[in-house]
């Protein structure tokens, strides 16, 4: 549904994002995790045709963001970090305006507005002036604005920031309920948020993608384990079982490398148990060729250090 290829955005000489590539499948919720200033908003702005990229391509629903922006805009609902609201008009007239410029069929406009208000539970606030709403309700109006034309893709920039714990839970439930019909990208700097809402996570730091993984794997890494990347030549199962014999190894995953007979192994080991020496010896002594061995995810740890990993008062239901 969303394909991003080698996207780079420079502001003068400063690179906001560099060589960012990822894919999002239809109906998936992808979390964009990274500390503040990592380039999350920039990436989202490129995807919504708000900003042109310096290099690279991005496609949404098969349409190129740079060549067919109108088609892309029709299919995207976007909630920026600060909801784009006109404070002096009422919720109803705001949604009416958004429905018009998003190209909602005039015959269905009133119905759509009622539907979307129902969905984000702001039904009783239709006649209220937006400026008088609380932060949480403003956020909901922002969400309503993104949903009104029933877009295939939803892009939400920090949708829970500044909300109180109850509102955070509600917004997350709402986002989860939207998956399936909508493809969603949401950005956050809060680690628990992705594990609660997302199926897959892209970790971005200093403008570069640091990792793409499932929240479970990321959480496991966070709970404390070392990862070692090994490339060895030999039978896959044989090497795997030998590695598993080493004390301290928790998990081994292997992938076939293109070209030659070699396999790459991602070895997860208990934290602070230095097993690299043992690992190398084991592979060589077992008669396999060791081509490469290095620790990984150091940069990832740096990223995690900057992330908010705890939330006071917010628990998943």
């Amino acid at each position: 549904m969303i394909e991003v290829d080698h996207l780079t955005k420079r502001y003068g000489s400063v690179k906001a994002i560099e060589d960012v590539s990822f894919r999002v499948e239809k109906g998936e919720i992808l979390g964009f995790l990274g500390p503040n200033g990592a380039g999350k908003t920039t990436t989202m702005r490129v995807l919504t045709c708000f900003l042109p990229a310096t290099e690279g391509t991005a496609r949404v629903a098969g349409y190129d963001v740079f060549k067919q922006p109108m088609e892309v805009k029709r299919r995207i609902g976007y909630l920026p970090e600060n909801p784009p609201l006109y404070n002096e008009i009422t919720v109803d007239s705001y949604l009416d305006f958004v429905a018009k410029i998003k190209g909602v069929d005039p015959a269905e406009r009133t119905k759509k507005i009622e539907e979307v208000k129902d969905r984000v539970s702001i039904k009783e606030y239709g006649k209220t002036v937006i400026g008088k709403l609380s932060k949480g309700y403003k956020q909901r109006v922002g969400l309503a604005q993104a949903l009104i034309h029933d877009p295939e893709v939803l892009i939400l920039d920090e949708p829970t920031v500044g909300l109180d714990p109850n509102q955070i839970i509600e917004v997350r439930e709402l986002i989860k309920s939207l998956a399936g019909n909508h493809t969603i990208i949401l950005s956050t700097h809060i680690l628990p948020e992705v594990s609660m809402t997302c199926q897959r996570v892209v970790i971005i730091s200093k403008g570069k993608i640091a990792a793409v993984d499932t929240p479970e794997n990321l959480t496991r890494q966070l709970q404390g384990s070392d990862r070692i990347f090994v490339v060895a030549k030999g039978p896959e199962a044989g090497i795997k079982s030998k590695i598993n014999e080493i004390e301290g190894v928790l998990r081994v995953e292997s992938t076939k490398l293109d070209g030659d007979e070699a396999y790459s192994f991602s070895v997860e080991a208990e934290l602070k148990k230095e097993i690299r020496g043992k690992l190398a010896r084991k592979i060589v002594e077992s008669g396999f060729d060791l081509l490469e061995l290095r620790p990984v995810s150091l940069s990832l740890e740096d990223v995690f250090l900057q992330l908010t990993t705890k939330e006071e008062g917010v628990r998943s239901r």
Partner: protein, 262 residues
């Protein structure tokens, strides 16, 4: 077209819920009323003087077309007054969208920049038209109390001229509003720009030579004189339309470059 209307409607809505709109409307109504009153009394006084003079020296009183003198002078004064009022109409157009981030909503919606700009321009122009509506009352007075009745021609051409002149000023004001996020800055710069236009107008008067001719052509208020006299001159029509076009074109370029500068 639908999109332009949507933007126009929204703009008008935001105009009329803000106190600025009512302040501008009221102040304009009061000022224009004051000027109308003083212009009428000046000419009435003058005609009385002439009547008295003719009675003293005998002979018929000289002919004096007070309605057209009033309308001409009134439109002249109005063209200056709007220089002070219109910066307040355009200051928010883009500056406020930028400050609030609602520009992000407009830019990520399936609507072109031209539609956004035209919607906003037409809304500002409609607001200006609303500002002018109460001044029709004054001409109503003139119509009822003058005999023979005044002609409508000069009044219509005067209003047309005011709308065109207002359009020029509004397009320039909207352009200036795209350059900043601060309404006050936008209003001040716009006011400064209008003042320069006014100064050009003064320096265009008198003197001769090629420079003078150029100044005369670009003097925006000079073109208004014809309209206030009831003359619709194609040169002035072309001048005003081109001015509006250039103003909106600059706005368009400025909006386009916003994305690249972000």
């Amino acid at each position: 077209m639908k999109n332009i209307l949507a933007v126009l409607q929204k703009e008008l809505k935001t105009y009329f819920v803000s106190p600025v709109a009512y302040v501008v409307l009221t102040v304009f109504f009061v000022i224009s009323g004051y000027f109308f009153y003083s212009i009428v009394s000046i000419f009435v006084e003058r005609s009385m003087m002439m009547m008295m003079q003719s009675q003293q020296f005998g002979g018929p009183p000289p002919a004096m077309d007070i309605p057209s003198l009033v309308s001409r002078n009134f439109f002249q004064v109005m063209s200056t007054v709007i220089l002070f009022m219109l910066p307040m109409v355009t200051m928010a157009t883009f500056a406020e969208e930028k400050r609030r981030g609602t520009i992000e909503l407009l830019f990520t919606s399936p609507i072109t920049n031209i539609q956004i700009i035209l919607g906003k321009f037409l809304a500002a122009l409609s607001f200006f038209a609303v500002m002018l509506v109460p001044t029709l009352i004054y001409f109503g007075f003139v119509y009822f109390y003058s005999s023979p009745s005044m002609g409508f021609g000069p009044v219509l051409s005067g209003y047309l001229g005011l709308l065109l002149l207002g359009g020029c000023l509004l397009s320039l004001g909207i352009f200036i509003s795209t350059l900043t996020e601060n309404q006050i800055v936008a209003a001040s710069v716009t006011f400064g720009a209008f003042l320069i236009l006014w100064v050009i107008n003064i320096s265009a008067r008198g003197g001769s030579g090629p420079l003078q001719e150029i100044l005369n052509y670009i003097a925006i208020l000079e073109h208004f004189e014809d309209f206030s006299k009831g003359v619709i001159d194609t040169t002035s029509l072309t001048f005003y339309s081109s001015f509006i076009f250039v103003g909106l074109f600059l706005t368009y370029r400025s909006i386009e470059s916003l994305r690249w500068r972000q």
